[in-house]
């Protein structure tokens, strides 16, 4: 049986080459570019991708194509031929026609310098160290925009070998220009043009320089023919042999160089292993137009069959085979598929089967002599020597501890193996093998399962055990590492370049140990990652833990974990146990579906979106200032989390400080706040994934909305003052009216009293009674009438004393009774004329005003036969006038003067016109204003 196994070791079964397949994703393009070819791709300084198709220009954020309006009026056939963002952030657009425009706020504006624009296609832009902008054209040579704002042209008279240029790049002093007739170094200082030409005599491999690319190594020169050269410090050295002619575009990222040939074919080269054609669509006959690498190291490829994107870090070397073990020696990648041992030549991509056993190969190791050792499940250890083609199987009969060999490693001294029966060591002496030594645990204890073995510097050996943690070689035996080693089950271990030991437990937790620091326990953060399969130390000290659903990387210096999962294309990684090799920054991973190779240097160190606040709009129009009036209260914010890795997963945490009380999580790339009240606000936004929002990406925008005029302090003060004033005026008016009423009432009461007093004036009564007595004697009948009039008079007085005003007609009736009484006394000596026109009879008058005036007249004037008294009552100029001849009595009647005073006061209540008293030499007149009903 074993002999049969040995006989199976037959080599050479050439397998179909499926080498180095890239993962490409076709990007869905929107109308109207869905069926167009993107001529140009450009990554700006913020990391956004710009794409041009014909005369259309787009900015792409991973989800949406945002079109920039280009000014092609009259030139619809024009094509965008060059894009460049200068250090001030201005995006320059060069056109096939020689037209130039620049982009401002999503629109491209024509740029027309005084010197005019070229009439040849703009092919490239660059900015030198003095920030002068250079422009290369195909047909008119080179232009530079000097600091004085003027354009200067470089032509053949300035030393250019030709006017047709292909590419332009900045260099130490000025720019490098690629032309048909060599490489041109041009500079412009103090209005002095300097041109230096390099051609084949100066070391160029070809006259026709088609493309330029700058990297740490220098400037790469891509030729029409011949190899790539690198120019550094004025020296040209050959770099790489290209696979075809016409190196149209060189792009490099990480350790990969890419370039594009004229035939539209895309080639890639990795390190020194040569060029390989890459076909993004996988269907051939595809013409590649342009390439760009974004800030997250994705390669974007525009072709006539659409736009493709790939992550450059991952490629698959073997597909559709379960690869259970692998090992790397130079360019030879050895791997195991079930019981088969195969190898792939990494430079050619060829696969070869060299050996086949009966049992699954669990691990591979290549010793210092190039021999391949493999441990198998249940069939012991085998060795294959590629130099001789010989192979050999070692089992328990040879002396190894157990036929289940889970791990093989070693150094020039010998081979270590971990088995289900303990650890074993086969010493090498020259090319011969010594007798195996077995370490199966202390006597009396059960035999240990050893899952993995690792060797360190100075002969250190560590064993990963199932339950006893790490065993470290000491003298001729092993002892357990002191300290907390978790549950004691060690799935895999590795020793990094500094001699530090790292291991993982079956939960994916990481541990480290050094002689000085002892054991450290690094608990892995919570998360869905699937079961772990192994651990490897990377070249930069990072520790990679391989899980079913991705790679968990620990950065010891930052003490930070990052998980590279489905977003990075590792969602279905499914690595096989211990089947990982890390070499020169590149990881080779045996998985259940083949071999995946990952360039660790290209994996983005940061797996987080970059946040950009793209613009602020007021009523959907862009704003410039940050202070708004009260009515300018409808604000929109546009923001983007740039993360081309997986833009669908980007979420935004936003808050308008001063308005929102807490953070909001949103998927939208804009937010609108309508009808913001006056105040001071700060808009904050940060993009993130998986509920992790990096604080350092927080973008803020502060602004203020003013209060409306009626809410400002001076308006409030004015309003308070106005209210107080109104109240004060009202109070005063009210007070006035109350006083007026009081006065009026008082006056009325006094008037009544005075009237009564005057009417029961003893003189009047005495006179009246004397008159009555005389009449009784003369004419009893007349006396009766007189008495009747007298009582009428008193009745009237009683009747009207409660009344404020009555008609003039009533007053005239009362005084006619009164005058009748007086006529009886004075006879013809009293001549009273009353002439009041009909239309005044209904005007109003305070009661007994005329009676009072007449009484005054009779009281103060002499009435005798020799001096008859004339009295007239008439209307003149809207005044009722009581006029009498002035015949003063020699003996003055005592007078309070109240009568006239009282009348004046009453009239002041009812009329604006005053009562006028006119005193002439021989007459006396009182003018009472006529009170019309309508005036009251």
């Amino acid at each position: 049986m074993r002999q049969a196994l040995l006989l199976i070791s037959i080599l050479t079964a050439l397998l179909p080459s499926s080498a180095q397949q890239m993962e490409f994703r076709k990007v869905k393009l929107p109308e109207p570019v869905r069926h167009a070819t993107l001529d140009l791709l450009y990554t700006d300084r913020s990391g956004f991708l710009w794409m041009a198709a014909g005369c259309r220009l787009y900015r792409y954020n991973g989800l949406k194509f945002h079109e920039t309006h280009t000014d092609t009026a009259g030139r619809p056939e024009d094509v965008i031929s060059a894009l460049y963002e200068d250090s001030a952030g201005k995006l320059w657009v060069g056109w096939q026609s020689g037209h130039i425009s620049h982009v401002r706020r999503d629109s491209a504006f024509a740029y027309e310098p005084e010197e005019g624009t070229p009439s040849a296609a703009v092919v490239a832009w660059a900015q030198d160290e003095q920030n002068q902008l250079w422009m290369a054209t195909y047909g008119e040579g080179l232009y530079v925009l000097a600091a004085n704002g003027r354009w200067y042209q470089f032509g053949t008279e300035d030393g250019l070998p030709g006017l047709e240029s292909y590419d332009l790049i900045s260099c130490q002093n000025g720019v490098l220009l690629a032309t048909d007739r060599g490489l041109v170094q041009a500079s412009f200082e103090a209005e002095e043009k300097r041109v230096e030409v390099w051609d084949t005599d100066d070391g160029l491999s070809d006259q026709i320089v088609k493309s330029l690319f700058k990297s740490n190594e220098g400037v790469w020169l891509g030729y029409y023919e011949q190899q790539l050269d690198v120019l550094k410090n004025g020296k040209i050295r050959p770099a790489q042999q290209p696979p075809a002619t016409d190196c149209h575009l060189v792009l490099r990222s990480g350790s990969n160089t890419w370039w594009l040939s004229e035939g539209g074919r895309l080639y890639k080269s990795r390190g020194e292993s040569g060029w390989m054609q890459v076909d993004p669509g996988g269907e051939g006959r595809m013409r590649v137009e342009h390439l760009a690498v974004d800030h997250e190291e994705h390669l974007w490829i525009s072709t006539n069959r659409g736009l493709f994107v790939t992550n450059q870090w991952q490629e698959s070397l073997v597909e559709d085979q379960k690869v259970t073990a692998l090992a790397l020696a130079g360019d030879s990648l050895w791997y195991a598929h079930d019981g088969k041992l195969l190898f792939q030549d990494l430079s050619s991509g060829e696969n070869q089967q060299v050996w086949e056993g009966e049992h699954v190969i669990l691990n591979l190791f290549i010793d210092h002599l190039g021999r391949v050792w493999g441990g198998s499940f249940d069939a012991g250890l085998f060795m294959y020597n590629p130099a001789t083609g010989a192979s050999r199987v070692f089992d328990e009969n040879f002396g190894i501890p157990n036929n289940n060999v889970l791990s093989v490693t070693g150094d020039s001294a010998g081979l270590w193996m971990g088995t289900l029966g303990g650890a074993g060591f086969i010493p090498f002496s020259n090319s011969r093998l010594g007798r195996p030594q077995v370490f199966a645990g202390e006597a009396g204890k059960p035999v240990q399962y050893i899952y993995a073995v690792a060797t360190g510097a100075e002969g250190e050996v560590f064993l990963a055990t199932d339950g006893d943690g790490i065993l470290r070689k000491k003298g001729s035996g092993f002892e357990a590492l002191p300290g907390d080693t978790g549950a004691g089950v060690v799935l895999d271990l590795t020793v990094d370049q500094e001699g530090r030991l790292w291991w993982i437990d079956p939960d994916g937790n990481l541990y480290s140990w050094t002689q000085g620091e002892g054991v450290q326990h690094l608990k892995a953060p919570e998360g869905e990652r699937g079961a772990p399969a192994g651990v490897e130390a990377g070249p930069t000290g990072n520790i990679c833990v391989f899980h079913e659903e991705g790679i968990h990387v620990y950065f010891p210096q930052e003490q930070h974990w990052t998980f590279y999962g489905s977003s990075f294309g590792f969602g279905e990684l499914q690595p096989e146990l211990h089947a990982q090799v890390l070499k020169d920054g590149r990881l080779y991973l045996g998985t259940s579906s083949g071999i995946t190779s990952i360039d660790m240097s290209l994996l983005p160190g940061r797996s987080e979106p970059a946040t950009f606040l793209m613009g602020v709009e007021l009523f959907f129009k862009p704003v410039t200032g940050k202070r708004f009036a009260a009515s300018e209260n409808h604000l929109s914010f546009n923001y983007i989390g740039r993360w081309y890795t997986d833009p669908d997963r980007v979420r935004y945490r936003i808050m308008l400080e001063g308005y929102d009380l807490e953070w909001n999580i949103s998927q939208n790339t804009s937010v609108t706040y309508p009808q913001l009240p006056p105040g001071t606000y700060t808009f904050k936004v940060v993009a993130g994934i998986d509920d992790h929002f990096p604080e350092e990406e927080l973008q803020t925008w502060s602004f203020s909305i003013a209060k409306p005029w009626y809410l400002r302090w001076y308006s409030l003060v004015a309003a308070v003052l106005l209210t107080l004033a109104i109240i004060a005026i009202y109070m005063r008016l009210r007070l006035q009216r109350i006083r007026f009423r009081q006065e009026q009432e008082k006056e009325r009461v006094r008037a009544q009293y005075e009237a009564l007093k005057s009417q029961v004036n003893p003189h009047f009564l005495f006179n009246s009674f004397n008159t009555l007595m005389a009449l009784i004697e003369d004419d009893r009948k007349e006396a009766g009438e007189y008495l009747e009039d007298l009582s009428d008079f008193f009745r009237n007085i009683l009747q009207y004393r409660e009344v404020d005003l009555y008609s003039l007609r009533e007053e005239l009736q009362i005084i006619s009774t009164y005058l009748k009484l007086q006529e009886k006394r004075f006879g013809a000596n009293l001549q009273v004329e009353i002439d009041v026109p009909q239309q005044y009879l209904d005007t109003r008058i305070p009661p007994l005003s005329l009676q009072l005036l007449l009484e005054n007249v009779f009281k103060h004037n002499v009435i005798s036969r020799s001096k008859p008294l004339r009295v007239k009552i008439f209307v003149e100029d809207e005044y009722l006038v009581v006029w009498n001849l002035y015949q003063e009595k020699s003996r003055k009647e005592s007078s309070t003067g109240y009568g006239l005073q009282s009348i004046k006061k009453k009239y002041s209540f009812y009329s604006r016109k005053a009562v006028n008293v006119e005193q002439g030499a021989d007459f006396f007149a009182v003018h009472l204003p006529i009170l019309k009903n309508s005036d009251l």
């Binding site: 048909d180 007739r181 006259q207 026709i208 029409y224």
Partner: protein, 183 residues
């Protein structure tokens, strides 16, 4: 460009160009092409290629009447070639004019490889090309130019019906050989 076209014109009408200095010129050059498609091989040739080189200015101009292509597999093929694809009536001439990348004025007798960059006009459509050629200079001053290059049909707006897709290659291989005498 205009001077080159004028050059061709003068050349074709047989006028002397000595006034413009020392030129190399020749006619009766041989041009042949093959279209190697999966189902059908088409080949034809013409000996009506004319050319002129101005070594001092490093410029050149070549022309040939497309109707002069002969030697097809069948008369039907020839008819299709001239009527459907080349439209020889409408576009009677194929030209290539431009300047050399390498300097031709100081070439020693012997064999040299130089590149000609210029505008190739076929079927009325112009495409800029860099075409590599072998230049043999004999001791007596005769200049022989030999070149093989390919012409993508898409560069010259020559579209092929899908039905005959398998009969015509997308790129036509062209072979040129012409002798020029210093004049």
């Amino acid at each position: 460009m205009r001077t080159f076209l004028a050059g061709i014109f003068l050349l074709c009408t047989g006028l002397s160009l000595t006034a413009q200095g020392k030129l190399w010129k020749g006619s009766g050059g041989n041009i042949s092409f093959t279209s190697d498609a999966p189902l059908e091989l088409i080949a034809a040739q013409s000996d009506k290629l004319q050319g002129v080189i101005d070594p001092e200015k490093n410029t050149f101009a070549f022309a040939m009447p497309t109707a002069s292509f002969a030697g097809f597999n069948s008369p039907l093929q020839q008819e299709h070639f001239h009527e459907n694809y080349m439209e020889s009536q409408k576009y009677p001439r194929a030209t290539f004019a431009g300047n050399f990348i390498e300097d031709v004025s100081e070439l020693e007798p012997g064999t040299h490889e130089i590149r000609a960059k210029g505008n190739l006009q076929i079927h009325g459509e112009t495409a800029e090309r860099i075409i590599k050629c072998r230049v043999d200079i004999a001791k007596d001053g005769e200049v022989k130019i030999i070149s093989d290059f390919s012409v993508p049909l898409s560069d010259h707006r020559i579209s092929i019906p899908r039905v005959v897709h398998q009969k015509i290659a997308e790129e036509i291989m062209v072979n040129v050989e012409i002798s020029l005498q210093p004049g």
